[in-house]
């Protein structure tokens, strides 16, 4: 196998004096979907934030061979890393359309308009509400908007923090189908934190289980799905 697209080594992160990640290693190959599982407070969100320099970190984060550690968020975004944060990753006072344009903030190519229309087609509710402010959408609609906003970057690496949060089960399933389609289509590498472990393991290639800021288990997603400990802790059967 070639060198991984995202390669993280000895990643530590802290909020002030509180160390949350204690040196974790993981990697994702180009075009793959990786999932991070773990209990509440295990450090999943912090891991994604560390990749975007949204928290102070130590260690090495290599994207296609380039070191991201020490770079600023704005520059990491310009390298093609999009991040859908946990909770509401939208701009509530801006319209749906403006949210998408903000998502393409670092782009200046002429295809921004076409991309926006494409995501309106993929998420028809957004198309119907393009002039409304994001704050007036339902929680689930805002989550779709946050994802569409991230896709407007045309990311090479998409970080998704609990994308199913607040979505109805049906919508969650169709969202994951969309994500796998985008992954197959554009070859977008994805790193997904997800509570719905069976769904996430179903679409992922590799999986990591975080416990108290350390990688407790890792491997191909289908192997982890068959692992007794994982089944008991995260799949519930």
């Amino acid at each position: 196998m070639s060198a991984p697209y995202l390669e993280v080594q000895g990643l530590k992160a802290a909020y002030g004096d509180i160390q949350v990640l204690h040196g974790i290693d993981f990697s994702v190959a180009e075009g793959q979907i990786a999932v991070i599982l773990g209990a509440n407070g295990a450090g999943k969100t912090t891991t994604l934030r560390a990749l975007c320099a949204m928290v102070s970190t130590e260690g090495s984060i290599k994207l296609a061979g380039d070191e991201l550690a020490g770079q600023r968020t704005a520059d990491i975004v310009r390298r093609g890393v999009a991040h859908v944060p946990q909770g509401r990753g939208t701009f509530p006072e801006l319209s749906v359309e403006e949210n998408l344009m903000a998502g393409a903030f670092v782009r200046s190519d002429p295809e921004v308009r076409a991309d926006a229309d494409r995501w309106y087609e993929t998420f028809p509710v957004l198309g119907e509400r393009r002039g409304q402010t994001a704050g007036s959408l339902s929680g689930g609609e805002q989550q779709m908007l946050a994802i569409a906003r991230a896709l407007m970057l045309r990311p090479s690496l998409l970080l998704l923090d609990e994308p199913s949060l607040g979505l109805a089960p049906m919508i969650t399933r169709s969202l994951f189908e969309q994500l796998t389609a985008i992954n197959a289509d554009a070859g977008t590498t994805m790193l997904v934190v997800e509570q719905n472990a069976s769904l996430a393991l179903g679409v992922a290639d590799v999986a990591y289980v975080l416990e108290a800021g350390e990688v407790a288990l890792s491997g191909p997603a289908d192997e982890l799905a068959a692992d007794d400990n994982v089944r008991r802790a995260y799949l519930g059967y």
Binding site: A74, V77, F91, E98, A102, G103, F105, A146
Partner: protein, 313 residues
């Protein structure tokens, strides 16, 4: 009837005065003119409040500095007043950017209290610096607009200055609206005010964007000052007085609404002039402004046009 007459007597209200149509109209025009100046400074306050979530006390001081520069450029260097004011706007924006870069950016933008204290400190420093450099004697800055009045009804005059002040404020609001809604830097500015974290995550450089807001607010504040000062006299505490009325205007308008700032400014300007004339409250004009701020904060904290903040997760 007798009681009413004596109450009115206390306030020096005579029926003569109240039924004097020309006096009403004259005060109405003056109110509009004052209101326009409050509105322009209120706009600068609202700009910064929207993006940072706090009232920037240094704003009035940057405007003060700008007005002194306009004075230097026009009266001492002999530039036409309008040109001098534009130069002063550019210069005060540059100073504002520098101040933002040196004193504001080191602090995390989401911790409001330290920033409020820093801006209070900046207010004291800039105001005293202006006093030290230019002294405390009063000076007069000519108006950008011609003297005289194209329309007159007896003592009521619609002067060029009133028309100019109003026109300037509406032009500023229009341009600001276009800038914020039609340009990329405007989008960045509004994104930062709406959700700081997501703004970072779409690649917006938050520091320079806020610096741009400071520069813009200083330019607008300087322009507002250049509208006010010809009616009063230029001295180091002048913007402090204007700031009170502008704060009242901004609070009335809802603190985060530009249209609200303009309407608030006009209402405060009108109220002030009418109260002063008909209730003879000239000594209490400043207190009235403070009362407006308190009443708004107590009765309707979102003002007339402010948005109730949507809770963020």
């Amino acid at each position: 009837m007798g009681v009413l007459a004596s109450v009115l007597g206390v306030f020096d209200i005579t029926l003569d005065k109240l039924s004097d149509g020309e006096l009403w109209l004259a005060q109405f025009f003056r109110g509009l003119s004052d209101g326009a100046t409050y509105a322009s400074v209120a706009l600068a306050l609202v700009m910064i409040y929207k993006s940072t979530g706090f009232i920037n006390f240094a704003q009035g001081s940057l405007a003060l500095l700008g007005v002194y520069l306009a004075y230097i450029f026009s009266v001492e260097q002999g530039l036409p007043v309008a040109v001098a004011v534009v130069c002063a706007m550019v210069a005060s924006s540059a100073v504002a950017m520098l101040v933002e870069r040196v004193f504001i950016r080191p602090f995390p933008p989401d911790h409001v209290l330290p920033l409020v204290i820093v801006t209070l400190g900046l207010l004291l420093i800039i105001d005293s610096a202006v006093g030290i450099v230019w002294g405390f004697r009063t000076r007069s800055l000519p108006s950008m607009f011609p003297s005289g009045a194209p329309i007159e009804w007896g003592i009521a005059q619609l002067t060029w200055r009133t028309i100019g002040n109003l026109g300037t404020v509406f032009a500023v609001v229009g341009l600001l609206y276009l800038l914020l809604s039609r340009t990329k830097v405007g989008l960045a500015f509004r994104a930062v005010s709406s959700n700081l974290e997501s703004a970072r995550l779409v690649g917006i450089r938050v520091g320079p964007t806020l610096g741009f807001g400071w520069a813009l607010a200083a330019a607008i504040g300087t322009l507002g000052g250049a509208l006010v000062v010809p009616d009063l006299l230029l001295e180091p505490s002048i913007m402090l007085r204007v700031l009170i009325f502008s704060l009242a205007a901004a609070a009335l308008g809802g603190l985060d609404s530009m249209v609200g700032a303009v309407i608030g400014g006009l209402v405060v300007g009108l109220a002030r002039n009418l109260l002063v004339t008909f209730l003879d409250l000239s000594e209490l004009a400043l207190a009235t402004a403070v009362a407006v701020i308190l009443v708004v904060l107590l009765v309707r904290p979102t003002g007339l046009f402010g948005s109730t903040r949507v809770e963020r997760v």
